[in-house]
Structure formats: C-alpha cells, structure tokens
C-alpha cells in the first residue's frame, strides 16, 4: 500500500481508488448515484434477493397457469374473471417481495452491517432512499416481466380451451403493467416498514398484517361503514389495479395512487426516524 506523510487536513495519499485526490467534495445531490450503485451491489450480492425474485416469478406464472387450467375446466367465456385469475399468484408473490424489501433494511440492523453503512455514508436518509429506489425499481422490472410472462402463459392455456384473452382485452394491458407497479410500490413500502421496525421478525409480521390480516380484520367493522373503509386499506387499494373481484373496490388507477400514498407516507416516517435514532 502506498501511503505518504503530509499535513492532516489534506488527503494523505495518491491512491484514491481512481479518484482525483484534489477533487472537491460533491454537493449532497451528487452522492446519490454512488449510493444507488452501492445499494445495487448490496442487493445483487445476497441470496435472499435471488430466491425472493425466483419465488415471485414462479408463483405468478405457476399459480396463474393452474388457475387458468382450472378455470377452463369448469366454465369458459367470461374474460374478466379469467383476467383476474391470471394474477392470483401475485397474492403469494407480494409476500416474497415484501419480505425482500423488509430484509434489505432489517438484515443490516441484525448483522451490524448498518454501522458499516452509516460510517461510510452518514447521510442516512439518502441511504434509505437509495435502498428503496433500487429495491423498488428491481422489483418493478422483475414484477413486470413476470406479469407479462404469467399473462401470456395463462392466455395460451385459456385459448386452448376456447377462452380468448389478449393484451387488447378490456383492462388487460392495464392489469399487466399494474402488477409490476404494485410490486414495485410494495417493495418501497416494505423498505419503509423495515426501517421503522428494524427487526426482521417484527418487520415481516407488520408486512403480513398489512397485506393479509388487516383486510380480514376489517370484517369486524360495522357493515354501514365497512365498504367505505375497506377499499382504502393498503392491500385492497393496491390490488384494485389487477383484481376485479367486486364493485366495492376503488377504480384501478385511483387504488394504485392510494397505495402509492401509503408507501410515500411509510417511507416518509422511516426517513424521519432513521435520522433521529441511534444506529
């Protein structure tokens, strides 16, 4: 290693990992690309990521195919139900993606990595935003690819039994793209949850509660107001873009927008908390 003696206020050595030692410090905004690269390296070097995304793709394509096969086995001809059925696998995939999002943060806290991270990059809010950005974007990409794959597989199975389903079918393209967006936003929300809760078990429990338990609990709400409350629950709002189960849900894009608002709020709380707490 080459190291030289010099005064303390100035950089010590010519080896700066390829950087010009005289380079002035960049303003805060400029650090984001570096943080994004760092978070991408973190995400791609962990097996959890690989398995979560594999489960996402397999669940979506596989379960969609099974539902399509069963659907054609009973009754055919109702295009909209067939479309919703295509995305049944998302209900499992959302758990894999949510767990991935939570773990990207909580695994850093549980292993002690978070201290290495914050010593290298004390801009904690920017770090969490970079994490949410990378996980959200990767999830959106993989979710979209899986969504298209699932759609075409299901459509092929359905057509062999006489049910026609194509991207031109009413709501089809919107649903296919909506699934990718839903999963991407969900990952951001999960990063927020993970940052707020910091423990893997707690974060995953909160995620499952939000996605699965809350909609069930809402059955306890008096029926007079249940309909107006239920459709605004995060899971119900977000899934409105690809599931068309009843007339009580929000319209697809409004639902996704409400879901996005939850994610923004969750990430916002996370950003406030990560700056205030001891790491």
């Amino acid at each position: 290693m080459t190291m030289t003696i010099s005064s303390t206020e100035t950089p010590l050595s010519p080896t700066r990992g390829g950087l010009d030692p005289a380079m002035p410090l960049k303003p805060a905004r400029r650090i984001m690309p570096d943080l994004l690269r760092s978070e991408w390296e973190k995400l791609r070097s962990i097996r959890t990521t690989f398995w979560s995304l594999i489960i996402t793709v397999v669940a979506m394509v596989g379960i969609g195919a099974i539902v399509a096969a069963v659907h054609t086995g009973t009754r055919s001809g109702r295009g909209f139900d067939a479309l919703s059925g295509t995305f049944t696998g998302v209900l499992l995939a959302q758990l894999a993606i949510g767990v991935l999002g939570v773990l990207t943060v909580t695994s850093e806290y549980s292993t002690g990595m978070i201290r290495s991270t914050f010593i290298a990059a004390p801009q904690r809010r920017a770090v969490i935003m970079a994490k949410a950005g990378v996980v959200g974007f990767v999830t959106f990409l993989v979710g979209t690819v899986a969504s298209f794959a699932s759609f075409f597989v299901s459509a092929a199975i359905l057509s062999s039994h006489g049910t026609h389903l194509s991207l031109g079918s009413p709501g089809a393209l919107r649903s296919v793209i909506g699934v990718g967006l839903f999963l991407g936003i969900l990952a951001v929300l999960a990063v927020g949850l993970g940052t707020i809760i910091r423990s893997s078990a707690g974060g995953i429990a909160a995620l499952v509660g939000l996605l699965l338990v809350l909609p069930t609990l809402s059955q306890a709400i008096p029926s007079s107001i249940r309909d107006s409350v239920e459709k605004f629950l995060p899971a119900n709002a977000g899934q409105a873009v690809f599931l068309h189960t009843d007339t009580g849900s929000l319209s697809p894009w409004i639902g996704l927008l409400v879901f996005g608002a939850y994610a923004v709020a969750g990430l916002g709380i996370a950003l406030v908390m990560v700056g205030r707490r001891d790491a």
Partner: protein, 332 residues
C-alpha cells in the same frame, strides 16, 4: 478525579500540539441512556502522527464515545468534531476517517470482496482499491468466500480493510486486537504504528493497558464515562504516584523510625530491606546521611503502566462507591 489531579486535565491542553492541529475533538461529550450516564462530560483532543490509546475498563463508555464521534449515536449534550466538523456533515467520509467498531459488522452472506465493494461504491471508490486493501490485510486469497464463515481474526482484518478503503488520515478502532492470535496482534500493532508514523491520527480503544503500553504514545483514560487522564504514556506512569524506593540497609529498624518522623510510610521487606512510598531517592539518602545510617542500596522502583492504570481506574470506582455511601448516610 482523585489521582488524576496530578495529571494534566484535558481541557487545559491546547488544541495545537507540536504544531499539529487536533483532528478529533470531544467537547463536553455526554450520553445518557435512561438513568444511566454512559459518558459524562468528556473532553479531549486527538492528534495526528501518534497512536492514541483510549483506555478504560469494560463499560467505561469507550464504545459509546467512539460511536458518538462517528455519528452513530447522538450525544445527549456536547459535540464531537472530526477534522473540525461533526462526522455526519462529512461527505464521502471514507477518505477522511476509517473505522473499525465491530469485527462482525458485515452481512454474513456476502463475500469479503462484495462487502468491501458495497462500502467503496458508496464513496465512489473503484474496485482496484478493494483489491489493494484485501491484499494489505492478507485476505486476497479468501475474497470470494462468504464473510459469515470467517474467524474473528479474519473479521477484524476485513473490518480494517474497510477502514483503509479511502486511505484516510484518521483511523478509529475499537478493541482491534480482541480475539486475535499472537500473529494477528503483532500485525495490528505494527500496522497502527506505521499508520501513525505516516502522519495519520490513530485512535485505538482497549481495556488492556498491557497492549497499549506496547502500541500507544498518548493515553486517554476513562472510567465510568468520565475522563481520568489524558497524557503521554510516560507521564501517566510518573503521575500515578505509585513509585516507591527500595532501600537496603543493616539499620532497617532505625531508618523506619527516621522516615516515619518525616511522614514517609515504609515497610520492612526483610531484616535488611525497606520499601518506601516516595518517588525520590535523594530525600532518603539525605535523611540517612543526617542520621548516620548506612545505605547499601537505594533504588527507585517505577510503577508499571498496568499498575498506574489499575490505580487510576480503581480510584474512580472507589470514589464512586464512597459517593454513594455518603449519599445513603445523609439520607438516613
């Protein structure tokens, strides 16, 4: 402070020493966890070009102090400055400060190389530097192995590699020799000394005075979160007040009486040898001459650094215990 009175208190020290500016400054640093005062109004400066040992018993608040310096914990009051400003205001801090707090501060599923890459990338440091530091710490051969399978010593080396990534002017290491084999300890000792000799600031914590005696030039000693001493290794030993003089004389009984009359405590080791609680051989020699006592040997016995440290930290504990006792009594 009890014994510490003899030692220069930190706040009297100037922020400039030997023409060097302090690179790390703690000013009234205080951290309270609930009702526990972990760090109590701690002020000190750390200078480049030397190894500064940050010493104290376990639980003295060393790690908390280092965490506050590194912006991980927020001080209850006071502040810590690194190169003149709080750590969290530094961008790309790897170029200024390298730190090893915890030998296991990595994701066990990631390879050593990947771990270093994630940190390097966040500061815009390229992959070739990652290879350099892997080489420096002797992990080049296992760079692709999952870090989770590393021994504690390899973990320490990986932590040091991450601290060296930005080739920083300041290194902060918390108990870096913990869990290392003798080879590893020697390696760290030499590394710290060479980093300091290159003009860098090296702040290294330890609860082992024996280790610091071999590595450090300057000592900052804390007990129960408060500063006990901030001085050079030599001065800490000297000021510990634990020096004694060994006297060999055929008239031991006589000398004991003479010394006692002068207020000097002594004890007879055997018929012809005394140990006197004083740091001065001159005074005993003069007294003996005046009273016509034959002296066969007069030797200054210097306290070891270990003893000085024990005394300092012991006093702080005793002092605290007494304070509590008197509090109880006044309450009763």
């Amino acid at each position: 402070m009890v014994t510490g009175q003899a030692i220069r208190p930190a706040h009297e020290g100037s922020t400039i020493m030997n023409g060097q500016t302090a690179t790390i400054e703690a000013r009234g640093l205080t951290k309270r966890f609930g009702s526990t005062l972990a760090v109590d109004d701690l002020s000190f400066e750390v200078y480049p070009g030397q190894v500064t040992g940050f010493l104290g018993p376990n639980g003295a608040g060393k790690s908390t102090t280092l965490r506050m310096i590194l912006g991980l914990d927020r001080p209850t009051s006071g502040e810590a400055l690194v190169n003149g400003s709080p750590f969290i205001e530094h961008e790309r801090p790897l170029f200024e400060v390298g730190a090893l707090l915890d030998p296991k501060a990595f994701h066990p599923g990631r390879s050593a190389r990947s771990h270093l890459r994630t940190l390097a990338l966040s500061n815009g440091i390229g992959g070739e530097r990652v290879e350099e530091v892997l080489d420096t710490v002797g992990l080049a051969g296992v760079g692709d192995r999952r870090a989770g399978g590393f021994s504690l010593g390899m973990g320490q080396r990986l932590g040091i590699a991450s601290a060296l990534l930005g080739d920083p002017g300041i290194l902060i290491l918390d108990e870096p020799v913990n869990g290392l084999d003798p080879d590893g300890i020697l390696w760290i000792r030499n590394l710290l000394r060479s980093l300091a000799s290159e003009g860098r600031t090296v702040l290294v914590s330890s609860h082992l005075m024996s280790e610091m005696a071999l590595t450090a030039d300057q000592l900052i000693i804390v007990g129960q979160g408060a500063l006990l001493a901030d001085d050079s290794v030599e001065n800490v030993v000297e000021a510990s007040g634990h020096n004694s003089v060994r006297v060999r004389t055929p008239q031991a009984d006589e000398l004991v009486m003479v010394l006692a009359a002068e207020g000097l405590n002594s004890r007879e080791d055997n018929d012809t040898q005394l140990t006197v609680d004083t740091g001065s051989t001159d005074r005993i020699g003069e007294l003996a001459a005046r009273h016509h006592i034959t002296i066969l040997e007069l030797t200054l016995v210097q306290a070891s650094l270990e003893e000085a440290y024990m005394e300092l930290t012991h006093d702080s504990l005793t002092y605290q215990a007494e304070a509590f006792t008197s509090l109880d009594e006044s309450a009763a």
